[in-house]
């Protein structure tokens, strides 16, 4: 499976809840419909934060991975 084309990279490494989701909610308004944002975070809490964000906003997490303490999410704008 190949990754979708990333329209914007949002670096939230070092940031703590709720800043990654605050930034993501702003960034997602700045990309086209169906475009994908790649978000990087280091807070272990960001996993649950992103899942809540997906549930509440409808934007989709289309990919996620974790390596060496960095959480990587691909979020597709859905509305």
């Amino acid at each position: 499976v190949t990754d979708p084309v990333v329209a914007h990279v949002l670096d939230c490494r070092g940031l703590l809840c709720p800043m990654p989701v605050v930034k993501l909610s702003k960034a997602i308004k700045g990309v086209d419909m169906d475009a994908v944002i790649e978000m990087l975070a280091t807070d272990p809490g960001s996993v649950a934060d992103l899942e809540a964000f997906e549930r509440q906003t409808g934007h989709r997490i289309v990919g996620r991975s974790q390596a060496d303490g960095v959480y990587r999410f691909l979020v597709r704008r859905a509305r």
Binding site: G14, C17, P44
Partner: protein, 390 residues
């Protein structure tokens, strides 16, 4: 075979997050056990003890009755919370020293100071002044609850404004060190296991040998809180903030249920005269509770952790919360001194023990009603997103 079973159980406990509902109910129950053992839980009096101790060491105050941090109940609870979360983060390979951009560190420190000041006005942090005080049927707890909601609302509106108009504050250099790397388990779980053994076996034994049996108990309670919070990430900041942000209501509903459970336990202990009825009933209705709640709610939203949340996340390695905890201690100690000097500490409101005003049934009913309202508000708002910012 045994090795496989152990690996499975390790993965169950430290390979995936715990249910926030289970954790919230356990926290409510543990708070009752702690009250039965000695005193309810709060993070702020331990933090104030650290601040007092710092000021004494710097020669700014002179107090002969100051109990050292390794013996003071609230401080030992906090130290257990911090080190328990550290052990838990290591066991889960989630520990790393994470340095946020400098603007974030400043926000952590400022939020921490607001939390310290708010905790003085409300006679406790969100745990002691709200969760435990409401459990103890003190009306000041409900005043603080209202303040916390207002403060969290103001805080999240500010953060949303900040990323639009002052984005540089949360940008900049950040780095982390000491985190787990690669695919294998690495050294962290072994270090965490060793630390946990020291915390729950060696140190309680040493306290007991030295004649400090209660302190051994406080340490164990603190460690249990730390592990529970780190594994579940149950968070009272989220409970107050998220309805005004994403609209997510899980933590608010779990918090309402935990407080109801804790309140029932406290009520039994007081009703049966096993504990003094005036305990944890604070003269903070309504000015102190409300004003303290607003300051505290704003501070915890800026810092990204409440009284307990800042301490356990500091144990997980977030430097922003090291700043928050340090200024929480300084704020709690200095503002308390200021209010005591000026006599304002006695002008923060009335001490209202609800059963004295409206009877035991009325008191329990009122707290249940307030919690049900919080629960339903969170559930309704999660669906309708009327108050959410999304």
């Amino acid at each position: 075979m045994l090795g496989r079973v152990l690996r499975e159980q390790y993965h169950l406990l430290f390979g995936r997050p715990w249910s926030i509902w289970g954790a919230a109910l356990l926290l409510g129950a543990l708070n009752v056990f702690l009250f039965a053992f000695d005193r309810p839980w709060t993070a702020s009096d331990g933090a104030r003890n650290w601040g007092d101790w710092l000021f004494q060491a710097l020669g700014l105050i002179e107090r002969v009755d100051l109990v050292p941090p390794w013996l003071y109940s609230g401080s030992v609870l906090n130290l257990g919370l911090l080190t328990g979360a550290l052990a838990s983060a290591l066991l889960s390979r989630e520990f790393a020293v994470r340095v946020a951009p400098s603007g974030e560190l400043a926000k952590g420190a400022f939020g921490g100071f607001l939390m310290g000041a708010g905790a003085v006005l409300a006679f406790g942090c969100n745990i002691g002044g709200f969760f435990s005080a409401t459990s103890a049927l003190s009306l000041s707890g409900l005043a603080m609850m209202l303040g916390l909601a207002l403060g969290a609302y103001a805080g999240i509106r500010y953060l949303l404004w900040e990323v639009e108009h002052w984005p540089v504050l949360s940008r900049g250099r950040s780095f982390s060190a000491g985190g787990a790397r690669g695919e294998g388990p690495g050294a962290q779980p072994w270090l965490g296991g060793a630390l946990l053994a020291v915390l729950v076996i060696a140190l309680p034994w040493a306290y007991g040998r030295a004649g400090y049996v209660p302190q051994a108990g406080f340490l164990l309670f603190g460690v249990a809180f730390g592990v529970l919070f780190q594994r579940s990430r149950f968070c009272l900041v989220r409970a107050f903030r998220e309805p005004f942000f994403t609209g997510e209501g899980d933590h608010a509903r779990a918090g309402a249920l935990a407080l109801t459970l804790s309140m029932i336990g406290f009520t039994i202990l007081k009703f049966t005269d096993l504990k003094d009825r005036g305990e944890w009933v604070f003269p903070g209705f309504w000015v102190g509770g409300l004003a303290g709640g607003i300051l505290f709610g704003l501070g915890m939203t800026l810092a990204g952790g409440c009284g307990a949340g800042s301490i356990w996340r500091a144990g997980e390695g977030h430097v922003k919360l090291w700043c928050a905890v340090a200024l929480f201690a300084v704020g709690a100690s200095s503002v308390r001194l200021l209010l005591a000097e000026t006599g304002l500490l006695r002008k923060l409101g009335a001490a209202v023990f609800l059963p004295s005003a409206i009877g035991w049934g009325g008191a329990v009913g009122l707290v249940v009603l307030a919690m049900a309202a919080w629960y339903l508000f969170a559930a309704w708002n999660e669906r309708t997103r009327v108050f959410s910012a999304m």
